[in-house]
Each structure stands twice: as structure tokens, then as C-alpha cells.
Point group: C2
Chain length 241, copies 2
DNA sequence: CAGTGGTCTAGACCACCGC
DNA sequence: CGGTGGTCTAGACCACTGA
């Protein structure tokens, strides 16, 4: 919900939500740390607990923060089971899900294409880091991923760390202080080309599911543009409405 | 009264939410009608306004009900613009969306297949109504839909009404008192067959997006099983994470 | 046990709608 | 103007956690 049409009046809890987000973005509360208790925060901001709760509720709803009754509220990390599957919608035909392991095929720094620059919101000839990898599920190549990020936002990603982790968003968060908070995906059915044949072991021309994802940070900035091609004999893309 | 000392603790607002849902399901508040005001309902249930609000908030979040500040809260109808697109995730490549018009190709009553019976939760040889239609977007055939519903739950749907409306969920709600509240979709990439060629005008073997949807009612019962095949040259499937 | 988040209350005031 | 939902308060008690 994003209407800035009425600058006249803004609910307190929304202002506080944004204040909390910027404190997280600033690095004052790194992922994995517990934020102050609700009563402490309500005193700090000079509002009632109920109002502060509404702000934190909104953050928890956006998966920015995770509540734990009796313990406290922790800034979401991209390695907790709960958030691992937020951006991974492939599942086996029987409904079970697990994360694929990955094998990097290409990793380079180059100029952005027109499309990439537009999606990432960077200058026309700015540099990007391009990673291509294949992801293996149940010992079968399931996904061929191509992703680009702004090289200025992710410095030296083309060479460091030497080996890339399975879950890149975790790396983005820990090494580059960039948390992926939401994403938009557009899905297409496409015909496999020679590259798909080589890496996924499918016939040229056979149908593949192509997922084009724009991953965004806590404040809506585009962080990554990712195009994945997936075989849907063993797996499918799952969605709840 | 609010005693109900349940063995396992359940928050009051959840109990009230369910009470409200069953009143909607029972037909006491048909879609489109305004439910009583929050203060009236809080008195009726003997709880504070805040607690009742939390119940209604949950309903609004599930799109069961729509709030209108200054007017009241209305039971969701499947013809309001806001809910029309809840279950329709196809959009043009430029991001705009509109609803397709439809043309019925087949409409019959027959025995359920094993898969259909399992999905709909009905007996192995129970009867279903099967509707096949083609949906046209921007004057181009975009979707080939096949859907089945339990014939017992939707009596005489195979023949009445004589002409089917564009938005079937509206018909389900108005004529059969069955509101689709949520759905699960599984997406696949498939190769077009002769039937797809005939109706969508694509080459046999060309890639299509297949969407298999289970539509569920207010209390989770499977109402409809729908398999759609879609051309993704002009359109794509859109999702937000 | 003290401290956290989760529920619930009773009331105040504000923004909005329709008459 | 009265009635609706939306915000906010101040405080109580409950359920859960960990030392």
C-alpha cells in the first residue's frame, strides 16, 4: 500500500515503522540482533505501547522482523528457515520443498544492457556483476539462473568471496548490508535453447518455465535482476492466492 | 458471554472471527450487505471494540470483508474491482491488466476422474460439471480453460443459466452461495497439443504456461479445479513476494 | 523469577461519509 | 450533523522464555 497522495496526515505508527526501518537500514540493528523491547521503544518514541506494537506488527508482516513471544523481536536474517522459502517457490510434485545446491558457470563484471540498467535503476553504461549458475535439486539439474546486480552496490562481487554460497541473499545481507525484502516475478513459458540443452539436459525446443525476478531492498530499491529457467517435469512453481 | 474455557487456549478475536465467518457462510449476511457496526457487534459479543476490530481486521485481510471508512464494512462481492484481480494474475507485458471475455466450448456433466475426485474431495465416481472455454484478451485468444466442480454443490450448472457470465466466481457466489476465498496454483511449462493449436492458434509443441488452480471456499473446502493453458507472447503471469 | 511479546479493556479523539 | 471506521492511550492480565 503506497499512497503519498495525502501528505497532510500520516498515522503515527506508519512514521514509527519508517523510523524503525531506517534504523535497520543504517546498520544500527544488524540482522540477527534483538531490537529493544516494546515498552522501551514506546518510551523512546513517546507513544503508547499499542501504537508501537502496530508499527512492529507491520514490520513483522513484511518479514523485516520476526517476533518471538517471551524472548523478543529479532531483525530478520536470510538464513532462518522461515525466510529461506519466501523467495523460492519451486516445489516437487508431491508438495515438498527443499533448497537446491548450485554450481557457478560464469561470474564476470561487465557493462549493463539497456534492459538491465532500466530494471536496476542505474546509468545506461554502468557496470554490473553477472553470475550464471545451475542449481541441482535431488541430484537433477533443475534451474539455470542468470542474475545481475549493480557492481557499485556489490563491490568486488565478481571475484570475492572466492566461492559463492548457495543462498546469495544471505551473502548480500552479511557482506554488502543489502537485505532483500520483497520481489516481483513475471513468469513465461519458453522453448529451451542450446544452452538450456547443455546445462539442463533437455531437448532444444522443449518447454521451460522462465521466471524473471526483480529483488528489492527494504526501501524498494532494485537490488538484483534474475532470470531463471526451470524444467517442470519433476517440479512446479507454487503460488497461493 | 465469553467463558468457553477451552483446553487449548484460543484468543477471543479468533473465535469471534470464526463466528463472523459462519454467519456469512450461513447466509445471514449475503455478499454486498453491510455488517453491523463495530460498536454494535462488540456489544453483541460482549467484548471490547478493540477485540472485535482485531477479528474484523483479520477478515478484511483475507478479503472476506471490505472496510469503508465513514460508511461501514461490507461482505466482499466477486464483482468489485478490488477482488476481480485477486485470482487473475495474467497481465500484459507493459504491466496493465484487464479481464478477458470468454467463449464456452464445452459444458457437460460427467463422472469425475480419479484426480478430479481427489482434488475436490468427493467420491471416486461422483459427478462433476466440466466447462471448457477460451478466453480472449485484446481480441487475441489468450487462455484455454478447463474446469470441473462438484455437480452436487453446483446443481444444474451444466445447463443453467443458459449463458455463462465472464466471471464465474460471481455466479458461484450469487447463484450457488459458494464464495471462493482463496486458491492454490501450481504452474508448469508444457508443449502445445493439437487442441491448443486449434483454439489458441499456436504451433503444436510450442511452449505454453499451464496453471492448475484449486479454488477454496471460506472454510477451505475445494470448490473448483481449473487447468488453464496460456500463451506468453503477449502476456505473462505476475507474482509479488 | 523477571522480562518479553500476546491479548483484552474502556475510553478518547480524528477522518470520513452521507444527509 | 450523527454514525462509521481509523488512530491512540494507559493500563491490566496472560502465555511464554530463560536464567
Amino acid at each position: 500500500m503506497n499512497d503519498q497522495s495525502t501528505p497532510s496526515y500520516r498515522p503515527l505508527y506508519q512514521q514509527i515503522k519508517e523510523a524503525l526501518v531506517s534504523r535497520i537500514v543504517s546498520g544500527a540493528w544488524p540482522p540477527g540482533t534483538f531490537i529493544p523491547s516494546e515498552s522501551a521503544l514506546s518510551q523512546e518514541y513517546g507513544v503508547s505501547v499499542g501504537t508501537l506494537r502496530k508499527a512492529v506488527d507491520a514490520l513483522a508482516n513484511d518479514h523485516v522482523v520476526i517476533r518471538h513471544q517471551g524472548k523478543g523481536t529479532v531483525v530478520a536474517m536470510h538464513d532462518s528457515d522461515s525466510s529461506l522459502f519466501q523467495f523460492f517457490h519451486l516445489m516437487r510434485l508431491d508438495g515438498t520443498r527443499s533448497l537446491p545446491i548450485s554450481q557457478v558457470l560464469l561470474r564476470e563484471r561487465r557493462s549493463a544492457t539497456v534492459e538491465e540498467a532500466k530494471v536496476l535503476g542505474i546509468a545506461a553504461n554502468a557496470e554490473v556483476v553477472h553470475i550464471r549458475r545451475i542449481r541441482v535439486l535431488d541430484e537433477v539439474p533443475a534451474l539455470l539462473e542468470n542474475l545481475v546486480v549493480d557492481a557499485a552496490r556489490f563491490p568486488a562481487l565478481e571475484s570475492e568471496p572466492q566461492t559463492l554460497p548457495n543462498t546469495l541473499y544471505q551473502l548480500y545481507q552479511q557482506r554488502f548490508k543489502q537485505s532483500v525484502a520483497k520481489a516481483e516475478e513475471r513468469l513465461f513459458a519458453v522453448a529451451a535453447d542450446a544452452q538450456d540443452q547443455k546445462h539442463l539436459g533437455v531437448e532444444v525446443g522443449s518447454p521451460l518455465l522462465e521466471v524473471r525476478r526483480i529483488a528489492r531492498g527494504l526501501q524498494g530499491e532494485a537490488l538484483e535482476y534474475r532470470v531463471s529457467r526451470c524444467e517442470t517435469q519433476q517440479h512446479c512453481y507454487w503460488n497461493e492466492l
